[in-house]
């Protein structure tokens, strides 16, 4: 793809670069040495706390009082409640398998081969249904476990996946509606999007959980979990719609006009010309919105759901484990970090790749 230059630029020896970069002046050398000392101290202290002086197994918990490091016994003893919440003990394998399926779905949708409407929707519908059947049961001889007993990592992933699967199509509708040529439609969609964007997510989740029973007639209310997911999905869609709209606006008008001249219908122009380019234009922003959404799933703990943050707090909530709150929080932070960091790195990778593509 890239043109190979006929003459390669002169290679600069690595030692020279290092010298220029780190030791160019006495002051710079001092900065380098101080930073290196800081990094080494922090890393050593953390490694010592987390791995060397730490206690690992449940049985060794009495040793924790003397130990200077972390007491991972609490994780060893209580990891099941962190990961599974109140899910029945003997069915934990279902929750694990469901998480693996959903994570695999998320990873697969990062592969460009899947980037077509048909493939992506098939992938996500399949992944989501498998997840739901595994968690909920009632089919293939699996016992029924209602959503009230879901918890931990599986609930976090379920909320994230459900919000994505509902929010993504909705965001496309909202973005197209806001760009409609009909003034009333454009205003209405604009008002809707701006209204939801001006509110904190928590107020929307709270309204969905606590207040919607007043607003909606009984037959429309559904379970509290589904109301919260619906509210979250609308919030997500409003933000994502603005990303997509930015992508749509960046398309040269000639593209759409060319489609018009060829006699394509509105639907054809949207699905064949506008959306593919809009997605390409704002892919990094779209991925970033997923990153933010994954972090924000933690907010549902406030409206009373037992996702991984709440189940973590429950893990050190009893008896002798109450003093080991730092270990549990670090453990949960690490789980979030793995998900969020990998997703955001992927977003950064896409950004670089697309920039190269544009030349």
């Amino acid at each position: 793809m890239a043109n190979t230059p006929t003459t390669l630029p002169p290679t600069i020896p690595l030692t020279h670069t290092i010298k220029q970069n780190l030791f160019s002046s006495p002051f710079n050398t001092l900065v380098t040495l101080l930073t290196a000392a800081f990094f080494i101290t922090i890393t050593y202290k953390f490694v010592d706390w987390a791995f060397i002086s730490s206690i690992w197994s449940t049985e060794d918990e009495p040793l924790c009082k003397e130990a200077t490091g972390a007491c991972w016994s609490v994780i060893d003893a209580r990891h099941r409640i962190i990961f599974f919440g109140l899910f029945p003990y003997e069915e934990h394998w279902r929750s694990t398998l469901a998480c693996v399926v959903m994570i695999a779905t998320i990873i697969a949708s990062c592969v460009p081969w899947f980037w077509s409407t048909a493939k992506l929707s098939t992938l996500w519908l399949l992944g989501f249904c498998t997840f739901y059947i595994l968690m909920h049961g009632g089919l293939f001889g699996l016992s029924v476990i209602t959503p009230e007993r879901w918890g931990g990592l599986a609930l976090t992933i379920f909320i994230f996946a459900a919000v994505s699967i509902i929010g993504m199509p909705l965001s496309i509708v909202l973005a197209l509606g806001r760009r409609s040529k009909l003034p009333v439609i454009a205003r209405l969609f604009g008002l809707f999007i701006d209204f939801f964007r001006s509110l904190p997510l928590l107020t929307i989740l709270f309204t969905a959980a606590v207040i919607t029973p007043f607003l909606l007639p009984g037959w429309l209310q559904g379970d509290k979990l589904y109301r919260v997911i619906a509210g979250f999905a609308i919030f997500f869609a409003c933000y994502q719609a603005e990303n997509i709209r930015a992508g749509l606006q960046a398309i040269p008008p000639g593209q759409d006009e060319a489609g018009l001249t060829l006699g394509l219908s509105y639907m054809q122009r949207v699905t064949r010309i506008q959306l593919p380019q809009a997605f390409r234009n704002s892919l990094p922003a779209i991925v970033n919105q997923f990153v933010i959404t994954f972090k924000e799933t933690s907010i549902v703990t406030i409206v009373g759901f037992f996702e991984i943050l709440a189940s973590g707090s429950a893990a050190f909530g009893t008896g002798k484990w109450t003093v080991y709150y730092i270990e549990v929080y670090v453990f949960i932070a690490a789980i979030y970090f793995i998900f969020v960091f990998s997703l955001s790195r992927y977003g950064a990778y896409l950004e670089r790749k697309l920039r190269v593509g544009h030349g």
Binding site: F38, F39, T207, F214, L215, S298, I302, I326
Partner: protein, 385 residues
């Protein structure tokens, strides 16, 4: 007739009117349904309840309060608490953000990595988890008797942070703040009128000298009678008396928002610094400016102009994020409103107040930032962020 019905224009208008009436019908149905369900619980709608006294307590208030205060005053306190938390958190986050932005744009790769590690750690863990983490750290600090202290004036313990304050009335603080703001707005106006002349500089210099004197005079006359000017915290029995207390909830939230927001603002600042065209810096270099002057006279002024829009966005986001304070029991606007909803049942009215509250905050931030943006814009020069 048929041609009118079939015309594109007519179809468009008809379609829009249809959509509009469906939306209106849905809204009306929602309001009717709400009224019906509220009446079923024999609750009256309207804002009359705002005058009733609440009868419940909450954790923190910037103003003196009691449980017999009216709903309107309690909600106002919640609003002020949110403003205080947002102000403290955002100010600190901005300072951290500028530092991180500078570190990340350093030419020394190792030093720049320090900023990268900071950003990746604090940006990739949910704010709410960070808030809970800091709250458990702060509330597990030693008891007041074993508090950490700085010069016997500032004390840090499990009860929060205690520090000395002036014994002055609240109204005088408001007057002082107004005075400072008026002075800051007066200066640019004067500069335009007097066109940088000698008398302008004279007025400017004497103003800056006089301002602290006037402020101190106000503080002296407005102090609470029969008390020393400075109110020092001191250990009395099991807890501290006197001084100002920053409770653990507020401290933890300020730390969390400052660190989390600092990571995001650091990225904004970095993008701003990187957006300054190389030619501008090279021009300064060619003209023989020192590296510090290239930074303070060329890079920073241009970077500030580039980051303002995204900074506004970050401030609004952080302001909205303060609502998670409820998870550790900080009585901000959201917590006060949700408690009020539980206690009074005036759901729709209180929700409307909450939304208006956030609308006011967001619009104010946007207004202030846009005004600054317009004031400092360089004509004919635009940096792309």
């Amino acid at each position: 007739m048929g041609s009118v019905l079939g015309s594109r224009k007519f179809r468009e208008i008809f379609f829009q009117a249809l959509v509009l009436s469906i939306v209106a019908a849905l809204l009306i149905a929602m309001v009717m349904n709400t009224r019906a369900s509220l009446e079923a619980q024999s609750l009256t709608t309207g804002f009359g309840f705002l005058e009733r006294s609440t009868g419940w307590d909450f954790s923190f208030s910037v103003l003196p309060y009691s449980i017999s205060d009216s709903y309107s005053k309690t909600i106002l306190i919640g609003f002020l608490n949110t403003l205080l938390l947002g102000f403290l958190g955002i100010s600190l986050a901005t300072i951290i953000g500028i530092a991180i932005g500078l570190i990340r744009t350093s030419k020394n790769t190792l030093f720049a990595m320090l900023g990268t590690v900071y950003v990746e750690i604090f940006r990739n863990v949910p704010l709410i988890l960070q808030a809970i983490f800091w709250y458990s750290i702060v509330s597990h600090l030693p008891k007041p008797r074993q508090a950490y202290s700085i010069g016997d004036a500032v004390f840090l313990s499990g009860r929060g942070l205690y520090f000395p304050v002036f014994n002055i009335a609240i109204w005088s603080v408001a007057i002082m703040m107004l005075l400072v703001v008026a002075w800051l707005f007066f200066l640019p106006w004067l500069r335009e009128r007097l066109n940088h002349s000698h008398s302008y500089h004279l007025i400017k210099r004497s103003g800056w000298l006089l301002l602290p004197v006037i402020l101190l005079a106000i503080a002296y006359f407005a102090r609470v009678p029969d008390t020393p000017l400075l109110n020092m915290p001191a250990l009395k029995g099991l807890n501290f008396k006197g001084g100002m207390r920053m409770p653990p909830e507020l401290s933890a939230l300020v730390i969390a928002i400052a660190l989390y927001g600092g990571a995001y603002i650091g990225e904004v600042v970095r993008a701003g610094l990187m957006s300054v065209p190389k030619g501008q810096i090279e021009a300064g270099f060619v003209n023989g400016l020192k590296p510090f002057h290239i930074f303070s006279r060329i890079r920073l002024p241009l970077a500030i102009r580039a980051v303002l829009p995204s900074l506004t966005n970050q401030y609004v986001q952080l302001m909205k994020a303060t609502t998670i304070g409820i998870v550790i029991g900080f009585s901000d606007l959201f917590m006060i409103i949700s408690t009020s909803i539980n206690q009074s049942g005036q759901t729709l009215e209180l929700l409307a107040i909450l939304m208006i509250g956030f609308l006011i905050i967001n619009l104010s931030i946007a207004f202030v930032m846009n005004t600054i943006n317009k004031k400092i814009a360089i004509k004919g020069y635009e940096v792309k962020s």
